[in-house]
């Protein structure tokens, strides 16, 4: 195996694909000697780099000059660092006696390798999948970004450890919950997704996909600040296939294959309240700030924050009288009877950024409440919201 690659095309790839290795190291999940490696495969003028934590596989590719095709596994952190510090130049890779020589200019690394055959093979879809569709980068990013924050990381409820993607009445929906709050986001179903069976994409895979999409969105924004942005997105959608146990996502030359969470997502629809008859409308930016202030004096691991809904205002307070406390009053539209309700402030404030991103700084959100013990529903102001959050109160 022998090839030459431009540092400028290889380095970013190693950075993105390497995140899987990084997170699998950090969590010890799927972390083995072989998965601490990148699989490098050079053929037909293309170098493919693969990483996996055994649940999720990610593969990216770049064009290279190949003298001899071949495949080998190289330690991921070492290769990542080595490439990053080599001079900005053409980097030569040559496999010799199970050792990879990497050279640029007069500098040269010799790294040990493992045979490519030891590397778990990238799962390819076999036969017809349950659903195959294309979805735009912003749409998929929107679905995942707004909901992933609610996915549970509590392994005792593994079936909540992901984002539930499914279709219903011409809509494609993403739903996630941790048992205390829930996010549901939908878009008009892209062609081919109308009949897909629901799948639960594991949290960590969602993280990989989301960060890939975020990078692409950023590139798009940077590349053509003013015009053509729309066009670029149109041209480059994500191809999604979902099957019984796996899902695949492809964006350009990048592919992600992930096992699905094997479990039944709970019937979430019945926990989304429909009869909450008190409506509070408040501007998102001041609420976000007030929440951040309230959390300063949270005394426990859980930061109880209290809302006192009064005529055209909401009082946000936290803390205990003897331990330090906070209160602030925000202007709001509210005309039902007064109501006091408590929340875990962190759970609520984590939902503010995605809302603010959608709404911009002057946006407002609508909070629908029933009483101090029933779920609260909220979303960007307006009818038929495509993104709703449900949060369960805290008894205080």
């Amino acid at each position: 195996m022998e090839f030459q690659a431009a540092k400028s095309s290889l380095d970013p790839i190693l950075g993105v694909v390497g995140k899987i290795v990084e997170s699998s190291r950090a969590s010890n999940l799927g972390y083995t000697e072989i998965t601490d490696h990148f699989l490098l495969e050079a053929r037909d003028g293309v170098l493919e780099v693969t990483a996996t934590d055994t649940v999720t596989f990610m593969r990216m590719a770049c064009s290279v000059d190949i003298q001899t095709p071949g495949a080998v596994a190289v330690n991921a952190p070492t290769l990542g660092r080595a490439v990053r510090v080599l001079p900005d130049d053409n980097i030569k890779f040559k496999l010799n006696d199970e050792q990879m020589t990497i050279s640029a200019g007069r500098g040269r690394y010799v790294l040990p390798t493992l045979p490519a055959g030891d590397y778990p093979s990238f799962p390819e879809p076999e036969g017809k999948q349950d659903a195959d569709f294309k979805i735009s980068v912003p749409d998929l990013h929107h679905l995942l970004h707004t909901t992933a924050v609610c996915a549970s990381d509590n392994e005792s409820r593994y079936y909540l450890n992901g984002v539930y993607l499914h279709s219903d009445e011409g809509r494609l929906l993403a739903v996630a919950t941790d048992g205390m709050r829930l996010a549901r986001c939908h878009i008009k179903s892209p062609g081919g997704a109308e009949k897909m069976k629901g799948v639960i994409i594991p949290r960590r895979a969602v993280g990989q996909i989301e960060s890939l999409l975020a990078d692409r969105l950023k590139l798009d924004r940077d590349a053509d600040k003013e015009e053509e942005a729309e066009e670029v997105r149109e041209h480059d959608p994500v191809s999604v296939s979902t099957g019984e146990t796996m899902a695949w996502f492809a964006l350009g030359k990048t592919r992600i294959a992930t096992k699905l969470v094997d479990g039944a997502f709970p019937d979430y629809d019945r926990v989304i309240p429909r009869d909450n008859n008190r409506l509070l409308s408040v501007a998102v930016a001041p609420l976000k700030e007030a929440m951040a202030r309230a959390l300063v004096v949270s005394t426990d691991n859980v930061s109880a924050v209290r809302f006192d809904l009064e005529n055209d205002s909401v009082k946000v307070s936290s803390g205990e009288s003897n331990m330090g406390n906070f209160e602030d009053t925000l202007d709001a539209a509210y005309d039902s009877e007064t109501l006091a309700v408590g929340f875990n402030g962190s759970l609520l404030s984590e939902l503010m950024p995605p809302l603010q991103e959608i709404l911009g700084d002057d946006g407002r959100i609508d909070l629908h409440l029933l009483d101090e013990v029933s779920p609260m529903l909220f979303h960007a102001s307006g009818d038929d919201p495509s993104l709703v959050y449900v949060l369960m109160p805290l008894r205080i």
Binding site: K7, D11, P12, G15, G18, K19, V21, E22, S23, R25, A26, P77, G80, R81, R84, V85, D88, H145, A148, D153, N154, D178, G179, M180, R203, G207, E210, S211, A214, D215, K218, Y268, V271, A290, R293, V297, S298, D300, N301, V302, S303, A304, N322, M323, G324, N325, F326, D328, T329, N344, S346, L347, S349, E350, P375, V390, M392, P393, L394, R395
Partner: protein, 701 residues
């Protein structure tokens, strides 16, 4: 003075009844043992009123002839000591006392048909006097029915507990017999409803106990259990024992069987505890199902009327085989090594738990509170810096998270890697690493020192040690020494430097290094916080959006539900959910996000009655004890369990501010030098001791 006389048989039996028969559970035990001795493969119990009103055991064993039946209920009538040899007992019964005692304790009817014979016979025992057997149509096997237990002995009736409690005890007894005989089917019907079913394991030998254990103790037990097996010349042990992480709060999941006989013997429990000694905290107990087999001449089972205790000819070797076989299994599970250096270090460390008697010198909350008033918001709180103290310290204290401490280690070799700036969001959930990579070519070329692996993203986890960004470089910390000193004086536990192995927090004071066990420390904090909330407005409860179904063993489910009220007071709201499941609707807010199943199981592990019972041994006048004390004690127990399960786990990565928060809270919390199990929560190593360890000369500070 009265004359000495021989007591009439009736009185003798009644006295004996008191020894053998204590409650419905003991009746069920004797009758079921008889059924097993008779070779039954299916045993069905029917009970009403917790077994007090009616208790019937039916078997398909070999049954009795008319003549056998006629004498079976007489005292010392037994078919089980053929050679009158008490040192060769292979059956569960042998004393010939049970039926006589049971006959004296209530209305007894025995119906039996000998295998191979056409007729069945039935006989009633009234007031201890067996009547004549009468012919009756019956299946092969024996059916024994006892009605109105102790109705003729009011003194004993008084000691029986509520029907549900008695039924629970009875089920426990049958469960433990069931564990010893997976080849036999057991069923219990309560008031006509089938409450327990343990189908026979088809084709199972007596030793194929895995499935039966799962039936009785739940899959969770078997998932956490490993096989134990050892044999010496005259002893054999086999069975399953659980990993130390599956710990219980009492011995309710420890079962020993000696030659197939369930026994609860202190020697055996003691040996098992010894095997786990340094692996389990003091207040918790292991879980195991173990079978000992030895020559019948090596063990005396005739020690106790209820045959629950035994005496070994060679107790030392029994103890040895238990300790060594269990230990070997446990050691196979963890490759713990200790180096000489660590031992040497250990000598220099002193345990923080012995050092916390004096209250730490903190700005007490009685000092003036500052109020910050902005537009429409107010923050009042204990002062970060009290105005009365020297100004030199204010900067350091006002921002405890911006410490400039030293972290030594060779970053080049990668053993200690600095962690990039921690996320500053306030949530306890850390979102998956969604951050975008900053691996653009320009940023990489700027880096001169060894760059962190891949992207320097905030959540980068490629670290053995997490440090605060300011603590990354060793060289600029020297000139910040002044700050260190003052900071150390303010905070006895010092400023957090790093987290190692996601388990320990390393912090530094002016003259020492402190290592804190994050779980042990937080456990105490959560416990004290719950107690405080209970005292004040009650525990804050997070209502669950999706109530969680927790599956338990039957016994656990009952115990959990029996304490619904106490649990509610501690913030855990549960309700029955059919079968052996309970539904959790609300959880203590402090507990958010941890494993609920584990928690409910741990709470259910403790018999709610046991507190009362334990006390009975200590105080003879149990009834005089105020009821509230017991209840309060129980609530504290539950709170402790919640704290144990709800506190920061070992293995959880902490942000730098979270570490400092934990240390600062510890300093304010009583008893924070120990966790609820009495283990130390931190240790402190004086820098002078470190100097000695590295054989450095005197230090100039």
């Amino acid at each position: 003075m009265s004359e000495i006389r021989r007591l009439p048989e009736e009185v003798v039996n009644r006295i004996a009844a008191g020894e053998v028969i204590e409650r419905p559970a003991s009746v069920a035990k004797e009758l079921t043992e008889n059924a097993l001795d008779a070779g039954a493969t299916r045993i069905v119990l029917h009970i009403e009123g917790g077994g007090k009103k009616r208790l019937q055991v039916q078997d398909n064993g070999h049954g009795m002839t008319r003549d056998e039946l006629a004498i079976a209920p007489l005292r010392y009538a037994t078919s089980k000591l053929p050679g009158d040899n008490l040192s060769d007992i292979r059956s569960l019964g042998f004393r010939g006392e049970a039926l006589a005692a049971i006959g004296a304790a209530g209305r007894l009817t025995i119906t039996s048909r000998r295998r191979g014979e056409g007729d069945g016979w039935t006989l009633e025992v009234i007031n201890g006097h067996p009547g004549e057997p009468k012919p009756v149509a019956a299946n092969t096997g024996t059916k024994v029915e006892l009605r109105d237990l102790f109705s003729n002995i009011p003194a004993r009736l008084k000691f029986l507990r509520a029907d549900a409690t008695e039924a629970m005890r009875l089920r426990e007894v049958i469960h433990s017999l069931g564990l010893s005989r997976p080849d036999v089917a057991f069923e219990i019907h309560e008031a006509g409803r089938r409450a327990i079913q343990m189908p026979a394991m088809i084709g199972a030998g007596r030793e194929d106990i895995g499935e039966r254990i799962a039936q009785v103790l739940g899959r969770h037990f078997t998932d956490n259990a490993r096989a134990v097996e050892a044999r010496t010349q005259d002893l054999r042990i086999h069975g399953l024992a659980c990993l130390p992480t599956y710990r219980r709060s009492n011995l309710s999941q420890c079962f020993f069987f000696v030659n197939g006989r369930p026994v609860r013997d202190r020697l055996l429990f003691g040996a098992l505890r010894a095997a786990y000694s340094d692996l389990l905290p003091r207040a918790s107990a292991p879980a195991a199902v173990l079978f000992l087999e030895l020559g019948t001449d090596m063990v005396d089972v005739n020690v106790h009327p209820t045959k629950a205790e035994v005496r070994f000819r060679d107790p030392a070797s029994v103890r040895a085989i238990i300790v060594s076989s269990v230990r070997r299994m446990l050691e196979g599970q963890s490759g713990k090594t200790s180096t000489t250096l660590a031992d040497k270090l250990g000598d220099r460390f002193r345990s923080g738990s012995r050092e916390t008697a004096t209250p730490p010198p903190f700005p007490s909350s009685s000092e003036s509170t500052g109020a910050i008033t902005g537009s429409r918001g107010t923050i009042t709180g204990a002062p970060f810096s009290s105005p009365s103290e020297s100004t030199g310290t204010i900067a350091a204290r006002a921002s405890p998270s911006s410490s400039t401490e030293t972290i030594t280690g060779s970053r080049e070799t990668g053993t200690i890697t600095a962690r990039a700036s921690p996320l500053s969001s306030t949530g306890t959930i850390t979102a998956p690493p969604f951050s975008s990579p900053s691996s653009s070519p320009s940023s990489s070329t700027e880096t001169t020192t060894a760059p962190p692996f891949l992207s320097p993203s905030p959540t980068s986890g490629d670290t053995l040690i997490n440090t605060h960004p300011d603590a990354r470089t060793a060289h600029d910390s020297r000139n910040a020494g002044a700050v260190n000193v003052s900071e150390g004086q303010e905070f006895p536990l010092g400023a957090a430097l790093a987290q190692i192995h996601a388990t320990y927090i390393v912090s530094q004071t002016d003259d020492s290094l402190v290592i804190t066990d994050q779980h042990a420390a937080d456990e105490r904090l959560v416990y004290e916080a719950i107690k405080k909330q209970i005292r004040q407005n009650g525990v804050r409860r997070q209502i669950l959006l999706v109530p969680e179904v927790v599956e338990l063993s039957q016994q656990e489910a009952e115990r959990a539900l029996a304490q619904e009220n106490e649990l509610r007071q501690c913030g855990l709201v549960i309700e029955p959910f059919g079968g052996n499941s309970v539904l959790v609707r609300e959880i203590p807010s402090l507990f958010a996000r941890e494993n609920l199943t584990e928690l409910v199981r741990a709470v259910a592990d403790k018999d709610p009655d046991s507190l009362g019972r334990d006390r009975r041994h200590k105080h003879t006048h149990d009834d005089e004890l105020p009821q509230t004390n017991k209840a309060e004690e129980r609530i504290h127990q539950i709170a402790a369990t919640i704290a144990c399960h709800g506190s920061i786990r070992a293995g959880k990565k902490l942000r730098h501010d979270e570490m400092n928060h934990l240390l600062r809270t510890m300093e304010k919390t009583p008893n924070s030098g120990q966790c609820n199990h009495g283990r130390p929560s931190y240790i402190e190593l004086k820098i002078s001791a470190l100097d000695r360890l590295f054989e450095r000369g005197g230090r100039k500070l």
